[in-house]
Symmetry: C2
Subunit: 332 residues, 2 copies
Amino acid sequence: MATLKDVAALAGVSVKTVSNVVNGYAFVKPENRSRVEQALAATGYRPNLGARNLRRGRTGFLALVLPELVVPYFAELANLVLGAAQEHEWNVLIEQTRGTRDGERDTLAALGPHMIDAAIVSPEALEGRDFGELAPGIPVVLLGEHHVDVPFDHVGIDNVAAAREAVAHLVSLGRTRIAAIGAHPHRGTAAQRLTGYRLALAEAGLPVRDELVATALNYHRRDGAEAMARLLASPEPPDAVFCFNDLLAVGAVRAAAERGVRVPDDLAVVGFDNTEEGAYSLPSLTTVAPDKAAIAHAAVDLLRRRVDDTERPPEHVRTPFTLRVRESTGDA
Amino acid sequence: MATLKDVAALAGVSVKTVSNVVNGYAFVKPENRSRVEQALAATGYRPNLGARNLRRGRTGFLALVLPELVVPYFAELANLVLGAAQEHEWNVLIEQTRGTRDGERDTLAALGPHMIDAAIVSPEALEGRDFGELAPGIPVVLLGEHHVDVPFDHVGIDNVAAAREAVAHLVSLGRTRIAAIGAHPHRGTAAQRLTGYRLALAEAGLPVRDELVATALNYHRRDGAEAMARLLASPEPPDAVFCFNDLLAVGAVRAAAERGVRVPDDLAVVGFDNTEEGAYSLPSLTTVAPDKAAIAHAAVDLLRRRVDDTERPPEHVRTPFTLRVRESTGDA
DNA sequence: ATGAAAGCGCTAACAC
DNA sequence: GTGTTAGCGCTTTCAT
């Protein structure tokens, strides 16, 4: 693999001149420029990014730290972050934490100090104080909700309002025994969505019954199916359910079908995330649709500005959402 | 950010000693070791991986080059590769090419020479000769089928046999007008699966009708739905369909349902990939299940051995598959 | 406009 | 066992 020095020798100039050409510096004597370009082509020179980074002090890498890639919401988000980062000439390092605190810690600890310029983190288990020690000095933007007041930029939708709207929709259908699936002891977003759920019930004058709120420690299809099965087995089963993500909703629909419960006739189902899977499922899912592209762009833009100015006070960006009504709540 | 030199100064030893401690070298005087460890803790020292890599000549990074993360098969595979790579202390750089030849080229050209030790590539548009110029010298393992005979390691299932078994299953159900969705002008795997499809029909004494073979330029749900809609609109619609991936199958099922065609009664559907989505859809999908964990492990292992010995002749690993029969072909 | 040379942080060969 | 030092490939003063 040819180095700058090799190219310089071949072109009969100094490394400085080659470096100037490679980096698009304007003032190079035309003759030298063309000789360098020839030498570049002849050697098939490729800059060693590691060496360049070492010298420049930045890496051109952005970490995207997510719980799980197999959750479609995160795959879709990753896709959008990749696009947004490209506009800023950032490469994205996708890291998976499996939703564990250790996974989140280790990832940041390993990459934080020197391999990445900044990080977008969708925390699931990490707490506020954890962040201080990790990745010291590197800009971090947090996705989703978090209980603690950490000094980082943050982007997310108004989960309380979103959940409230979703449940209000169920209420407007005349449903009275509305369940929720996805309560979680530590997840900030789960707490917010539960709050929205309760708010909507209260506004409708409906009682909030604990036995209608199902906890889900993971947000996979299986967890939705299991929770739904339990709810349906109860003496007074629900006539509607609000699931905290589309995967849970898909599982819930499946569990209902297996028990001969018809969706939406016997049970109306609302999901969250607006994944493509939900648009094609049978019945298609009514769901809260966060503007994922807006989230991805906001996160990357925030990071870009943060890199340029470390001292700015933390910013909190609220991205929009809409409720997409589909077959699972009785659309024709 | 503290450097090795800072730590050495604080501990009152040389950088060599600190480096020895950091890298777990055994022969360090206990007293020095403890002093270094203290200094390490006090400064919060983190090695600069870029600098280390520059010196060592390797990076500890593995590239996983895939068409699209939003295709569940690839997300699931990425997840497994991440796990397999961890066992070899490799970090994985997930790169998305969007299935374009330029995307595949650019990715390898940018990262190839210096940022990664090796790459796992699932090519969709790249041709054999492209690889020579790219990532010269870095080990590459190819996933899936490819027409051209390139000098790289390769892992994949026997797509002809898999498709044949899937279609034979449809034949065994008594279906006679068996369609295929997913033909593609350039994709190697598509060609293989089409061959298997034709083979199975021929073996059953069934005619191969061109009008029952639908091309899909992408393998998304939408493409499956569109292809199915066309097939169902024909004068003699199929009574079964073999889709080249689960996403196409999901789309096909949806299109059928929208036209009042019952699955599996009127139309039996088989997918490919055994994604979790297919296991929960209504009806659940019969599908070809490649052993994805085996693929991920084989790919990483191949790379490990290739890094140690560049001269070995290219190896081709065939991983197993099974047919998972579910509701979409009439399971009870 | 270009060359010479220092140095980013680290590892490893070589001394002691 | 540990210190000294060269050098990985690059960018960037500082001269000229």
